[in-house]
Amino acid sequence: MSTLSFAAGALKAVHAHALQGYPHEVVGILAGKNGEVTAIKALINERADSAHNRYRVSGLTVMRAEQALEAAGHTILGYYHSHPDHPARYSDYDRDHALPNLSYVIVSVDNGEIADTLSWRLRDDRSAMDPETLNLNGAAS
């Protein structure tokens, strides 16, 4: 099982974004180095029609944000998004839209409070996503 670590403050920032956006889904980029998230970049959910259970960010917007992070010395490790009033498990829709070799962190927000945080990676054949271990030591300290 692979592992994704969060540096101090990084997971807190993800949770703050998820709470601030509730009851809508929020989305952002996880960046860092060597499998540890040290920076996040909140993105704007473009799905105005169904923001409570869908997110989308256009390719150019994502690419520009990632280029800025990479220029600052970060590696793109994956993306996070929230599931308002829904478990932190990936949906078929998440799997259909996922890329391999990246971490997909899902934050479940239940009634305005953080309920759960899980991370998933897409299999090479796209048949499923596998859970990965979250190392929150940095975040807790």
Partner: protein, 473 residues
């Protein structure tokens, strides 16, 4: 050879190369050669069942998105660069399930790749508000109900009138005189009992618009007047909801999708309303009964596409339809960078220059008099014999006319016959409802006529109050 830029997460499948050199005359050919060479890429770029590019895979030729060129048929010139740019998308699937009768009912949708079980469940989860249940709302509501949109809100304060039935196919002869929202709800449930119908038997106003729109995913504008159209637009902008727009006049219609994502809204198309009276209403100008059928069905199509998240909507495009020449045209729409931001709902009657109910009484600057049909009849019976000028169009006079009218001249042309009109006699001007005749009265007053009366309510009021043998239309 074409240089293809590979996004970071897919580089493990191209031997960690950021760019690769691939042959091909078109974008599609380059991509096919790419996935032949690097076979593990294929499943991530294309959907294995349909062979189409996955929805999150955007391809740029130089700096142009191929969706705005010829898609995969776009020719690739020598030395060009292709860039694969994934968008990101996802979300939970708390979608409602379909029971067996629903699966049978929607089977022709379910076997479409673009709809399928997921799409039909999205339609069932969809919440759409339709403002107006008239010409546009009729086909729209019937098709949304049949398509299985789970929750439909309808706003209308009107009752079904005989003159509605030429185009408002949602309502029937047996419903004349009943509230339109009631008639609409019953018809929707006859079509599809699975639909939740919310009715709002009230006028949409700046006070209630945000409350009424709030629960819905998509708002459809089926209104027939400018104040409500601006109100619907501004409320959608404030709430971040897509606004599916349609309008009709005589033989011509328009449709677009406003405020979808970062797309333009109605104020980017028309920052200001036209001067009052410049654009006649359907009651004044007439409308081909089938026209709202075409436009309303286009609005229904766009609504369903937005709920499904499929296809290219009319966002950023204004579709124009002319029934007489049977032609569709399309104009590009962009956000106006100089547009004033919409920050609150305002008084839209005032914004559109329409005087309030009390404004007539206070408007002592008006240079002509007003007379209602009862007073006219009383004075007529007492022997008053004014010159009566009908300013409607000849087609209307063929439907109904006042027997004592002296002359028929459309209201825009009254100045041309000023020389024929008496200056030593009272002149009473009438039209269908009193709007056009007021304009004609103002014109004559401006030419120095000082004994001009506008017949309030027009021939319609005369028919309803004085002489029922004259048909209303």
């Amino acid at each position: 050879m074409t240089t293809v830029h590979i996004p970071t997460p897919l580089r493990p499948y191209t031997a960690d190369q950021a760019t690769v050199q691939i042959d091909g005359d078109t974008v599609g050919a380059v991509l096919n050669n790419l996935t032949t060479t690097y076979s593990q890429l294929g499943v991530h770029l294309r959907h294995p069942d349909t062979g189409r590019l996955r929805s999150f895979v955007n391809v740029y030729l130089g700096d142009e998105d191929i969706r705005f060129l010829d898609d995969e048929d776009t020719a690739v010139p020598p030395g060009a660069e292709l860039t694969i740019v994934p968008s990101i998308a996802g979300g939970n699937s708390t979608l409602p399930t379909l029971d067996h009768s629903e699966i049978e009912r929607y089977s022709r949708h379910l076997i479409l790749d673009e709809v399928g079980m997921e799409g039909q469940r999205r339609l069932k989860a969809g919440k759409v508000l339709c403002v107006g249940t008239g010409g546009l709302g009729s086909p729209l509501l019937m098709y949304l109900a049949a398509a299985g949109v789970g929750r439909i809100g309808i706003v209308d304060f009107d009752v079904v009138d005989l003159s509605n039935l030429q185009r408002q196919v949602l309502h029937s002869t047996s419903n004349i005189g009943r509230p339109k929202v009631q008639s609409a709800k019953e018809r929707i449930h006859e079509i599809n009992p699975h639909i939740q119908v919310d009715i709002y038997e009230e006028a949409l106003t700046s006070d209630n618009a945000l409350r009424i729109l709030e629960p819905y995913d998509v708002v459809v504008d089926g209104t027939d007047n400018f104040p409500t159209r601006y109100l619907v637009n501004d409320a959608c902008v404030l709430l971040g909801k897509p606004n599916v727009y349609g309008s009709i006049f005589k033989f011509e219609g328009q449709a677009s999708v406003f405020n979808l994502g970062e797309g333009p809204n109605y104020r980017d198309l028309y920052p200001e309303p036209p001067p009052p009276g410049l654009v006649p209403s359907c009651a004044e100008g007439g409308v081909l009964g089938i026209l709202p059928g075409v436009i309303g069905v286009i609005q229904a199509t766009e609504t369903v596409k937005i709920l499904l998240g499929k296809g290219n909507t009319l966002s950023g495009r204004l579709l124009l339809y002319d029934a007489l020449s049977m032609r569709f045209r399309e104009l590009k729409l962009r956000r106006d960078p100089h547009a004033k931001p919409i920050t609150e709902l305002i008084d839209y009657q005032q914004f559109c220059g329409i005087p309030g109910v009390s404004a007539h009484d206070e408007d002592d600057a008006e240079a002509f008099d007003r007379i209602d049909v009862v007073e006219f009849k009383t004075r007529w019976d007492a022997g008053w014999r004014p010159y009566v000028l009908d300013v409607r169009r000849p087609a209307e006079a063929e439907i109904a006319r006042l027997s004592f009218a002296d002359k028929l001249q459309p209201h825009g042309e009254v100045a041309t016959i000023a020389g024929e009109l008496p200056r030593d006699r009272d002149i009473v001007i009438h039209c269908k409802l009193g709007g056009r005749s007021a304009k004609a009265a103002a014109t004559l007053a401006g030419l120095g006529f000082d004994r001009v009366f506008n017949l309030e309510g027009g021939i319609t009021a005369w028919s309803k109050t004085i002489d029922a043998s004259i048909p209303t239309y």
